[in-house]
């Protein structure tokens, strides 16, 4: 699966060929290797990342210390530590490619200029932020009300492709389960 940023934007707002030229002058497209880090704990989250092909994960080191994954981004998803991106404070997170990934990044120092030059992107990002916020509200509710087993079932029913692509120990970290427990649930359901 693959989706370009331009296609993704055109699903929501109008973008002429001239606009596309302007957009291209503001963004950077790159392909990174599996395991490559795009953000490290202690650095400012300098970019908004859009995944065109591949998969990213965002995680922090909890007290144990173990990797606690808080978000993934497959094709068509944006990812960053938004707080650090907005106010320039050091991030607590790492962002890493978990497959060879082609992505677009927008630097925080040009984000406002880009929105000024292409004001239809205000609408595009309003819709993206709104959808992400709705998803975040929903995820917080599921996490607080479901048992871990229910949450895994819900997740594997709704995002089967995701469960296939992401290593089992990362799914476990994201869902707050041990890898052994996820392995057991998989066997039970197969």
């Amino acid at each position: 699966m693959q989706i370009t940023l331009v296609e993704h934007i055109r699903n929501l707002v109008t973008l002429t060929d001239d606009d596309e030229q302007v957009l291209n002058s503001f963004i950077k497209r790159q392909t990174v290797r599996r395991k490559e880090l795009l953000l490290s704990n202690g650095d400012v989250s300098k970019s908004l990342f859009f995944v065109e092909h591949g998969c990213l994960r965002m995680y922090y080191l909890n007290n144990k210390p173990a990797e606690q994954i808080t978000q993934f981004a497959l094709e068509g998803w944006w990812l960053t530590d938004l707080f650090s991106f907005m106010d320039g404070s050091p991030s607590d997170y790492f962002i890493q490619a978990i497959e060879r990934t082609t992505l677009v990044s927008i630097d925080r120092l040009v984000y406002d200029d880009l929105l000024f030059r292409l004001p239809q992107l205000e609408r595009y990002f309003r819709i993206i932020m709104q959808r992400n916020l709705a998803a975040s509200q929903l995820r917080a509710k599921y996490l607080s009300e479901m048992s871990k087993e229910e949450f895994y079932q819900h997740f594997s029913t709704n995002f089967p492709e995701f469960i296939q692509r992401v290593p089992q120990y990362m799914v476990a970290s994201y869902l707050g389960l041990t890898p052994e427990y996820v392995s057991e649930l998989r066997k039970r359901n197969s």
Copy 2:
């Protein structure tokens, strides 16, 4: 404390007097009594609410069944069940005034029209959604990494006014603590 929606918008984007007239034709301003319900479980979340004066809470009934509060909105905050608001599905939530509250509501059926008529509101809501999403990322991280006592300390240090205004059992519900435990923490810190 009090903030009008127009002031709040003008802090972020330009709104002429003519625009204000247009805005007023799309919104509804009302004052509701303490304990009045603005959304009930099973209904569609028909409105985005902006608090000009007072305080709202959003909660659902968990399996126990007890009220699990997921969000509050003091002056200057927007609140709704965004998922239900966006796709028209029945909500699992209740939204209730916990003080006498003056609020502005925007109906989901006119939200897009309003953004079309006043396109600068795309920018306004993009910033609002982005800030809320950043806050939501941060809260999820705190919840997963802090002990309950640390979370309470963090919360009362950063939002002292909030702890004063909101009944103790609601603060407990929001933070995932028992009312008895919050009472004990308060005594320990006083």
